[in-house]
């Protein structure tokens, strides 16, 4: 999964370094993430005991909880990067491209992890509550967050000028972030059917061994999330480099038009 393959085409040493999406740092990170994920699987499926109440279903916990934490973390990172982009982007040397890439890469990873969390959550819910879905504040907010950031990604894919697109996307990310507490609050007020935030409630049931497995798997998924964001970031940067090189060619071609007639 972590391939350090160098591009086949002949490129100068300077460009080859920035052409690859892996570096020593992320290669190590990637292996760490991979190994810890495998270890999580072993710990969660084999080593960890069955729960007295929920039986084998408790093993979902080691997947579901860390995944939603990564998703929240990714969206927070997207919101912070977007805010910094709007606030500081103009005065920075790179016109905030770096922040924009961080926001985009985080949102992509966030959407994938939210989808995973919603799916595992529904499966877990079906087993423990007997229904796939509960209309409580946290679930509803997560679903709205998922849809909002799908819209955000759609906005990022629009064929408009990069600077316009980045700015609109950053504003959309911030408006969604400001709005999520409102969603949470209003749904919370409307009805709170089930338990409070997972760790605090489940603490009673989760005993020493399970707790450390959960903690370990959280580390594994956070590493995976960071690794994914780093790679997406680099792919986005490579796309921009390609576009910029295309631009130099386009300007040359545009000037050459003058010579034609």
């Amino acid at each position: 999964m972590v391939s350090a393959t160098k591009p086949e085409m002949p490129v100068s040493p300077r460009t080859s370094a920035r052409m690859a999406t892996s570096s020593v740092g992320t290669t190590v990170l990637g292996w760490l993430a991979f190994v810890s994920l495998v270890a999580t699987a072993v710990l969660g499926l084999v080593v960890s005991p069955r729960d007295v109440v929920t039986g084998d279903a408790v093993r979902f916990l080691y997947l579901h909880v860390p995944v939603i934490w990564v998703a929240y973390g990714a969206f927070i990172s997207c919101a912070i990067a977007s805010a910094l982009f709007l606030w500081k982007g103009k005065s920075r040397a790179d016109r905030g491209r770096h922040l924009d890439r961080v926001a985009g890469a985080s949102a992509e990873v966030g959407v994938v992890f939210t989808a995973l969390a919603l799916i595992t959550g529904a499966m877990w819910g079906r087993i423990t509550w007997g229904v796939y879905w509960q209309w409580d504040a946290r679930l509803t907010m997560t679903a709205m967050m998922f849809v909002s950031f799908l819209g955000y990604l759609a906005l990022r894919r629009l064929p408009t000028e990069p600077s316009v697109r980045s700015k609109r996307a950053a504003i959309a990310a911030l408006v969604s972030s400001v709005n999520l507490p409102l969603v949470h609050f209003s749904v919370d007020w409307w009805r709170t059917l089930h338990q409070e935030a997972s760790l605090s409630v489940d603490e009673a049931e989760i005993t020493g061994n399970m707790y450390s497995v959960l903690l370990f798997s959280s580390v594994a998924f956070v590493l995976t999330g960071i690794w994914l964001v780093a790679h997406r970031y680099r792919v986005i940067r490579l796309e921009e480099i390609r576009d910029d090189e295309g631009l130099e060619l386009a300007i040359a071609a545009r000037r050459a038009e003058a010579g034609v007639d």
């Binding site: 600077s163 295309g246 300007i251 545009r254 000037r255 038009e257 003058a258 010579g259 007639d261």
Partner: protein
């Protein structure tokens, strides 16, 4: 004389297309300048960039003393742009449109109506919805808005297109008056005979740059 437009190596991107690919141009205040060249060489983009509507990717650009690479906002109220598109609300009447756009600039209604009168929009024509106008009448309405602005810099993109003979004469007369009053006029046109008689200077466009600068 002070420079109304001072462009150096200006690159303007429309999406990923470099519509201006290193344009250098200098227009003094009070000059009447014709932009010449076939379609798609960057004349329209040049005019829109002067109005502060396009972001400048590289190069330096100053219009009426405003540095467009730093702030494109302040120059806008001093220019009058007549583009291919007429900037009119279809559902509103000619009079409504002229009054609305005038009031967005704080121009008195009487001045706005005088401008409409000046381009030949009078009487019942003022109460016609813009969507029922002919192309020529539409252009006249757009022109009335530009006249009402009393811009220091006129940016006209093929102003003669769509006008009848009388309308063109009227326009040329209008441009001469504005130039006499000290305004700078930059316009693109394919009506070369007519245009060259009005213009002091010709900028020849090619491939997103200014090729020749003929006096």
């Amino acid at each position: 004389m002070a420079a109304a437009i001072d462009f150096r190596d200006v690159v303007v991107l429309l999406g990923r297309f470099p519509a201006l690919a290193g344009a250098t141009a200098n227009v003094c205040e009070g000059e009447v300048v014709l932009l010449r060249g076939p379609n798609g060489v960057g004349k329209t983009t040049f005019l829109r960039t002067c109005a502060g509507l396009n972001a400048i990717t590289s190069g330096s650009a100053e219009v009426l003393g405003h540095d467009l690479t730093a702030d494109r906002n302040n120059v806008r109220r001093h220019v009058g742009l007549l583009g291919h598109r007429t900037h009119l609300y279809d559902e509103l009447t000619v009079g409504d449109n002229v009054r609305f756009w005038a009031s967005t600039l704080g121009i008195a209604e009487s001045d706005a109506m005088a401008a409409a009168d000046r381009v030949g929009l009078t009487g019942r024509l003022l109460d016609v919805e813009v969507q029922r106008l002919s192309a020529g009448q539409r252009r006249r309405t757009a022109l009335a808005v530009v006249v009402a602005r009393r811009p220091r810099l006129w940016l006209l993109d093929e102003p003669h297109a769509g006008l009848d003979h009388e309308g063109r004469d009227n326009l040329d007369e209008l441009l001469r008056q504005a130039a006499d009053a000290g305004a700078t006029i930059v316009f693109a046109s394919h009506e070369l005979d007519r245009a060259e008689s009005v213009a002091d200077r010709v900028l020849e466009f090619s491939g997103g740059r200014i090729e020749r600068d003929d006096p």
